[in-house]
């Protein structure tokens, strides 16, 4: 624990300070509540302040000009603007400073609008006093700010696309067409993905493979695309602009000379269920996934080949191949290359309904899934496009579709899978078109036809006589003699029980995150949402970015999506990557962590909490260092260091402690000190302001980039200094902007509570609250609750507990 330093000592170091303070009226937005002239007058007397002015609109051209001319004329070397939230105009005023020759990092803003005038509309005196203190806090901080220079790192003009479904194909083509080299990695033997398995597409009923195949061949022949099939990404290191990638490429056992003549298949004695046909038919160990496959080459599934023991026990395919393309000596390889950007397009798995035993999937042959149905009616599928049912290969006369199987369920996936309703309607119409005498029943809960052309398709299905019955069956019973299926359920609109006999039942199964999605998540430091899909950086404004720089999302890996949305998103992701690659370099904000090598003992605790693997080093080296290009500036590592060796640029301990001390200077026992993370809680407090939600004026908010930056030493200092209450607030656990760095916040606060108990302090005085950027009301509620609790605590109790803590801390430090 550092010794508390007094304000005067600190400023004496900075006696060459020339700070300009600008208090903005923002029309009546601030000026209607806060007496801005009085605040400016107050600021003039603050240490280091050379001049303080109030203006009607500081952000206006004249307002900015005033700052610029003052910087030039009065040789100002620090600027404080007391106006709105820095999330709005910090870039504006930074640019103004820069154009006047002042380093933009020497600007500090005091948020006297969202955090003051708007939330204390009817308390003019209290709001004015609060504004003064917010300005004073900003002045203390600005005095300690240092000029910073943003570094730029080069971006390699090459990209990696992971996954060769329609999203990966589209992203690869867009980037390759823009002139960048693309590595497209696909784990199957061909690109095409789920779309290649589907018969027709909704809402326009195009033949799926017909519109996909041209794109697939374009990938195959594109000079800028290096297609790696039978391949999986094994390792990714590095950071934005410069990723090092290792890809594991399985042996094909067939050389590039293969012309896909197919002579080898008949020779192969090994039969295997065909995964592309959803297990409905069989293939050989040597095979091509489907007729339109790209690359159009056979490969041997060595797992099922007779030669899987490493010796050639069977060479029938070799004998059958006239061009002698079979090479049993082919070996798996690991390829290594570097890229500047990455697009993740790994797609989805399909829900397996076997656990829902009441539906009999896997037990009753005529209960199938939608994916199986797609293959069943596909001309290239196992039945040659004839609608037959599995048990007796007869044409079903009555077909039922069951919706929401494995979706909207706490027993499977809790979310709506987004594509099943329209897919079923499309399938129903296909049956209608080719086998019009078939009766079709769709058992649904809600039909979600939200997209362009969707409602039309739904209405068409109704007009064409597809029966829609609200209420999914609870149970399916198989007639053991005929294989027919009896469906028991309730028609909720009629309120009556039904029993339908059907020839075939299609379970409209939902889609799920890939089972192996966690490995890529770890490699790329991606966050996942509560459903397990990869999470976007912002759900609205950065929908294809991830929180890892240079990594973008395309297709259903980010959440259930149809083909159109996957393609849209893929093009968006490619475009985002293209921006980086065309610029060729990227600027990193100067808020990264720095390690003082002299103080570092090489313990590695910081590296353990870093969500970006941006801290390198080791015991053998004796120290750790921050990889600046990989550091995202959350600061979670700083409080972890026991030796004070780490600090965060522009958010140093010294700067923040100066703000805390300023809060402690006057009547601290009446005040709530709040630490709010930039992305959620600070924004949530801003939102409370924008919404004019009123809360008590005794809260002082200090901004950090992440709640993980909040050091327990700061909380110690605040309580020892007699603060009434402390609030630490951050993003909700899975929404953290910094890849769940706020897990460390929770851990540290838990530990702090235990310590408070040991020190004999009421632990309710420290609160941890998750407040999202949309939860202004929640922020206001938390502050009001804390205010009420504080109002019940007498000041002398606060002082007594502060004494107790100081005693506890001194005992602790002397025992160490």
């Amino acid at each position: 624990m550092k010794e508390p330093e007094s304000l005067t000592e600190k400023t004496s170091e900075h006696n060459d300070l020339r700070i300009g303070v600008y208090v903005c009226h923002c029309g009546k937005n601030i000026g209607g509540t806060v007496r801005c002239e009085e605040v400016a007058q107050f600021a003039t007397a603050l240490p280091g302040v050379m001049l303080a002015k109030d203006s009607l609109y500081t952000c206006s051209e004249p307002g900015q000009e005033q700052i610029k001319s003052d910087i030039r004329e009065h040789r100002l070397n620090r600027v404080v603007v007391a106006s709105c939230t820095p999330r709005l105009h910090e870039p504006t005023f930074r640019a103004a400073c820069q154009s006047a020759g002042l380093n933009p990092y020497l600007l500090e803003m005091a948020n006297i609008r969202e955090h003051c005038s708007w939330v204390h509309l009817h308390e003019k005196d209290a709001a004015t006093e609060k504004a003064k203190e917010l300005v004073a806090m900003a002045v203390s901080r600005v005095a300690r700010l240092m000029p910073q220079f943003e570094v730029t790192v080069p971006v390699a003009r090459k990209s990696l696309v992971i996954g060769g479904g329609i999203a990966g194909i589209q992203a690869a083509l867009d980037m390759a067409d823009a002139g960048y080299k693309v590595y497209l990695v696909e784990k199957a033997g061909s690109i095409g993905g789920r779309m290649a398995q589907i018969d027709k597409t909704f809402p326009t009923m195009d033949c799926s493979i017909c519109i996909l195949a041209p794109k697939m061949s374009e990938v195959g022949r594109h000079p800028n695309i290096e297609l790696l099939t039978l391949s999986q990404v094994q390792e990714i290191s590095g950071h934005i602009g410069n990723f090092r990638v290792k890809v594991f490429k399985r042996a094909r056992y067939v050389t590039d000379e293969c012309t896909a003549c197919g002579e080898c298949i008949d020779a192969c004695p090994q039969l295997v269920p065909d995964e592309f046909e959803a297990g409905l038919s069989i293939r050989r160990a040597i095979h091509i996934p489907f007729a339109q496959a790209v690359p159009s080459k056979y490969h041997i599934d060595m797992h099922h080949c007779l030669n899987n023991q490493g010796i050639v026990a069977c060479d029938r395919c070799f004998q059958a191949c006239q061009k002698k393309c079979i090479n049993f000596a082919d070996r798996d390889q690991v390829l290594e290359f570097e890229v500047g950007t990455i697009v993740v397009a790994t797609g989805v798995d399909v829900y397996d309904p076997t656990p829902l035993t009441e539906l009999g999937y896997g037990k009753f042959p005529n209960v199938i899934t939608t994916l199986e149905f797609e293959r069943l009616i596909n001309a290239g599928g196992p039945s040659g496009g004839e609608l037959i049912r599995p048990s007796d290969r007869k044409r079903p006369r009555k077909v039922a579709f069951l919706q929401c199987i494995g979706s909207r369920s706490k027993r499977a996936s809790p979310y709506c899978s987004n594509v099943c309703c329209m897919n079923t309607i499309k399938d129903a119409l296909l049956i209608r078109e080719h086998w019009p005498e078939t009766e079709i029943y769709v058992f649904y809960i809600d039909i979600r036809a939200f997209g362009k052309g969707f409602e039309d398709l739904f209405q068409r299905a109704r007009r064409e006589g597809v029966n829609f019955i609200r209420g999914v069956p609870g149970e399916i019973i198989e007639d053991i003699n005929t294989g027919d299926l009896r469906l028991l359920g309730e028609n909720t609109l009629l309120g009556s029980h039904y029993r339908y006999t059907m020839d075939m039942v299609v379970l409209s199964v939902g889609i799920q995150p890939r089972k192996d999605s966690a490995s890529l998540q770890r490699m790329l430091n991606l966050a996942t949402d509560t459903d397990g899909f990869y999470m976007e950086a912002h759900p609205k404004l950065r929908p294809v970015d991830t929180t890892s720089g240079g990594v973008f999302l395309a297709g259903a890996a980010e959440g259930p999506k149809d083909i159109k949305d996957s393609v849209t998103q893929a093009s968006a992701a490619a475009s985002r990557a293209n921006i980086l690659m065309s610029k060729g370099e990227v600027t990193i904000p100067a808020i990264t962590a720095r390690i003082d090598r002299d103080k570092c003992t090489g313990c590695g605790l910081c590296a353990r909490v870093c969500p970006y693997h941006a801290i390198e080093g080791g015991k053998e080296l004796g120290y750790y260092r921050v990889v600046e290009a990989a550091c995202q500036g959350c600061g979670v590592c700083v409080p972890e260091c026991r030796f004070g060796a780490i600090d965060q640029t522009h958010f140093t301990d010294d700067q923040i402690v100066s703000q805390i001390d300023r809060v402690l200077a006057n009547n601290p026992h009446d005040k709530i000190l709040c630490f709010a993370c930039n992305w959620c809680s600070y924004a949530g407090a801003d939102f409370a302001g924008v919404s004019r939600m009123q809360y008590p004026p005794n809260v002082r908010i200090i901004r950090t980039m992440c709640s993980g930056r909040v050091s327990p030493a700061w909380i110690d200092r605040a309580f020892a200094g007699g603060i009434g209450a402390v609030l630490v607030s951050g993003c909700h656990p899975s929404d953290c902007h910094y890849n769940n760095a706020n897990r460390e916040t929770a851990r540290r606060i838990e530990r702090f509570w235990k310590r408070m108990e040991r020190a004999g302090i009421n632990k309710d005085r420290l609160r941890l609250a998750w407040v999202s950027a949309a939860e202004g009301a929640q922020f206001a509620k938390v502050i009001s609750e804390m205010h009420e609790a504080l109002a019940r605590t007498p000041a002398d109790k606060v002082h007594k507990e502060a004494d107790k803590l100081r005693e506890f801390l001194s005992k602790k430090s002397s025992s160490q």
């Binding site: 009441e358 929401c404 909207r408 369920s409 706490k410 027993r411 499977a412 809960i445 809600d446 609200r470 209420g471 999914v472 069956p473 609870g474 149970e475 028991l488 359920g489 309730e490 028609n491 909720t492 309120g495 029980h497």
Partner: protein, 154 residues
């Protein structure tokens, strides 16, 4: 008073998660053979009309207690707990099937839920000793303290 007691035993928030898929009623054996209300409608009525409507309805008791509804519920709504809470409330209002009144009265009077003639002879036929008497005093005292008389006189 009774209004509050139901929700004391059962978290009402759980009901809001019901989206009326009817998997519960589709699985319900009682609904196939009798005019039971069924969990779906029960929940809907509780939400839209208040539970009074349900607890005064005799059909509330048409149930196998097989719990298959809860087992199939995609929202994992604790339907069995809900039905117990509702029926307890119905019982306090005197809505109890006559057969059930006889059964619980017997239990409160004899400590057992069955009675047969010539029990000792029957047990002897299978080589078993007579059944020791039930600890009826203790049971009756316990029932006096749990408030069983709110529902059944014994």
């Amino acid at each position: 008073m009774t209004t509050l007691r139901i929700w004391k035993h059962f978290p009402r928030e759980d009901l809001y998660e019901c989206y009326q898929c009817a998997r519960c009623t589709g699985s319900c054996p009682a609904m196939e053979v009798a005019p039971a209300i069924g969990p779906r409608e029960t929940i809907l009525k509780c939400l839209n009309l208040g539970h009074q409507d349900v607890v005064e309805d005799e059909r509330l008791w048409l149930c196998c207690t097989c719990n298959v509804c809860e087992d199939r519920c995609p929202q994992k709504i604790p339907i069995s707990d809900l039905l117990v809470a509702l029926r307890n409330s119905a019982a306090r209002r005197g809505n109890i099937p006559a057969r059930l009144v006889l059964a619980v009265e017997l239990l409160a009077k004899t400590g057992r839920s069955m009675i047969v003639h010539q029990l000792d002879e029957m047990r002897a036929h299978h080589g078993l000793a007579p059944l020791p008497p039930a600890p009826i005093e203790e049971i009756r005292e316990l029932l006096s303290k749990t408030g069983f008389r709110e529902v059944i006189e014994f």
